[in-house]
């Protein structure tokens, strides 16, 4: 005798009456818009149909097993709330067995239906929903290195920069790296062009007022390291500024999209301030060490490396600290003290 039964003998949501077989099910419940599986034993040749397609549509039931072993597993969709009768019959004969299917938005019965599907909706990752992650601290570090004056300790106000001071022609400067005071009057700069000393076009230092500090005279030709530094400084100048803009843009977006915009804004402002300070402090340390190793090139390399590291670390530390302080301040409740009479 054919009968419906609960797959894997799970009982919640399946009402067993044991009339046709010990495990025969007379009723099952499905939550709206979900699918549940029902087993059919001994019904290889039977046609199964829902008598109320609005509630349980006759969609083929997505059978998952062959009928050779006598078992069929039918996946029923609870299309809308209501009741349907699932009938298994041969030809035009009367139904061999039936199953009442109750579709409801909520199952409040004593043995409520357990969803066959996971409760959470599956994530479908698209460009729009992919979680945003990134390295703004890194962007902050490199970005800062492209715009900040990195002080060189012990040089009476010189700092590493990527732009000249003072007015320059529209064609720009042929130098890319500047170790200069705030006016640009004292400077050591890495230049490319005709060198009046070597009578050729090469990479060379030009300086004014810094010979005693760096022991580099005007028009001193540099080697491959200097050439690489010249090009690197150019890439850093423009690439760093691009990263700076990107970093700021990402942070602005993060403020707009944040559930707590004020907190996020606090973190961002603190982060950039920390990046600036970190760049200055660690960059100065790097420049000092670099000067001790190789005055000029070492000064610049040490300064920039220190600035990038210090800028990134400063951003991260200040941003994190600002978030903690914000949370602390937000959770702090000030209770007014009750008035007390003045002491006599």
């Amino acid at each position: 005798m054919a009968h419906f039964f609960a797959p894997d003998r799970s009982s919640p949501g399946y009402d067993v009456d044991g009339k046709l077989a010990p495990d025969s099910v007379w009723r099952m419940r499905i939550l709206t818009k979900q699918r549940r599986t029902i087993g059919l034993w001994g019904g290889q040749q039977l046609t199964v149909r829902s008598n109320n397609p609005n509630v349980v549509p006759n969609d083929g039931f997505a059978e998952t097993s062959t009928r050779a072993d006598g078992l069929r597993f039918l996946s029923l969709l609870g299309q809308s709330a209501g009741t349907a009768l699932l009938e298994a019959r041969q030809g035009n004969s009367g139904p061999w067995c039936t199953l009442q299917v109750l579709v409801a938005d909520v199952d409040l019965s004593p043995n409520p239906v357990l969803p066959d599907q996971p409760l959470s909706l599956p994530w479908t990752i698209t460009d729009a929903t992919v979680p945003i992650s990134g390295s703004v601290p890194f962007a902050a570090g490199v970005g800062m290195a492209s715009v900040v004056r990195i002080p060189v300790p012990g040089t009476n106000g010189l700092a590493v920069e990527l732009s000249p001071r003072g007015w320059t022609p529209k064609s720009g400067s042929t130098s890319t790296l500047f170790i200069q005071d705030v006016t640009g009057k004292r400077h050591l700069r890495l230049d490319y062009g005709y060198n009046v000393k070597s009578k050729t076009i090469d990479y060379h230092w030009n300086q004014k007022g810094t010979a005693n500090t760096f022991k580099i005279s005007d028009h001193t030709t540099v080697g491959k390291g200097g050439a690489a530094m010249y090009k690197g400084a150019r890439y850093l100048r423009w690439g760093g500024r691009v990263l700076l803009v990107v970093g700021v843009a990402v942070d602005v977006i993060s403020i707009v999209q944040a559930s707590k915009p004020l907190k996020r804004a606090t973190e961002v402002v603190a982060g950039w301030a920390g990046a600036w300070a970190g760049c200055k402090v660690v960059g100065a340390g790097g420049a000092y060490l670099g000067t001790a190793a190789t005055p000029g090139l070492g000064t610049a390399i040490g300064g920039f490396v220190g600035c990038v590291i210090g800028g990134a670390a400063g951003y991260y530390a200040a941003s994190s600290a600002a978030g903690v302080v914000y949370d602390w301040a937000e959770d702090t409740i000030f209770t007014p003290l009750p008035p007390a009479p003045a002491p006599q």
Partner: protein
């Protein structure tokens, strides 16, 4: 080995090379000379003696005007001490080719400087500025280590050379006129 051109001003009247960064040479208008110097400058820049001598030689032709803030303004210099500071101005750095000196006729009505003075086409500014009393232009070349002097005519250039020789001699500097190749070599061998 002795340096025949040590402690000297160098003049070159046939300079053509683009590496001097003075635009197309010779300029299409006026009389031009390339100026260099072999005076030691251990701390870089234009040596004070060179700056003072050049200022004096230019002032012998007329008052000078150079670039000053706000952008587009001119600073008038009528004595060598004032004029020599144009080689040392951080606002319009000589060493970055961001400066110039205009030699003015006594009745000059010049009030501002055209942007073309800072471009490689600087020499074309002379015919434009002549009607307002500009008779010569001094502009820095590559790295500010050389300069180009453009005068409205040969006579004025000759007068400049003469005053340069006089002023240089007073400060113990020689003046040499060289062809371009010798000019390059003399600069390269300078201390």
């Amino acid at each position: 080995m002795s340096q025949p051109h040590a402690n000297s001003f160098l003049l070159c009247f046939d300079a053509k090379a683009p590496h001097w960064q003075l635009g197309p040479l010779p300029p299409p208008h006026g009389a031009f000379a390339l100026l260099g110097w072999t005076v030691p400058a251990p701390d870089g820049g234009v040596p004070p003696a060179v700056a003072a001598t050049l200022a004096e030689a230019l002032l012998a032709l007329g008052p000078l005007a150079c670039a000053a803030r706000p952008h587009g303004a001119l600073r008038l210099c009528q004595n060598p001490a004032e004029a020599s500071t144009l080689f040392d101005s951080p606002d319009y750095p000589w060493w970055l080719q961001g400066q110039f000196a205009l030699v003015l006729a006594p009745a000059s009505t010049l009030s501002a400087w055209p942007a073309s003075l800072m471009a490689t086409t600087w020499a074309s500014a002379l015919p434009e500025l002549s009607p307002v009393g500009v008779i010569g232009i001094l502009r820095p070349g590559v790295d500010g280590a050389v300069a180009g002097i453009l005068c409205r005519d040969e006579a004025l250039l000759a007068a400049f050379v003469s005053s340069l020789q006089t002023a240089a001699a007073r400060t113990g500097l020689a003046t040499h006129t060289l062809d371009e190749a010798s000019f390059q070599s003399a600069l390269a061998s300078s201390p």
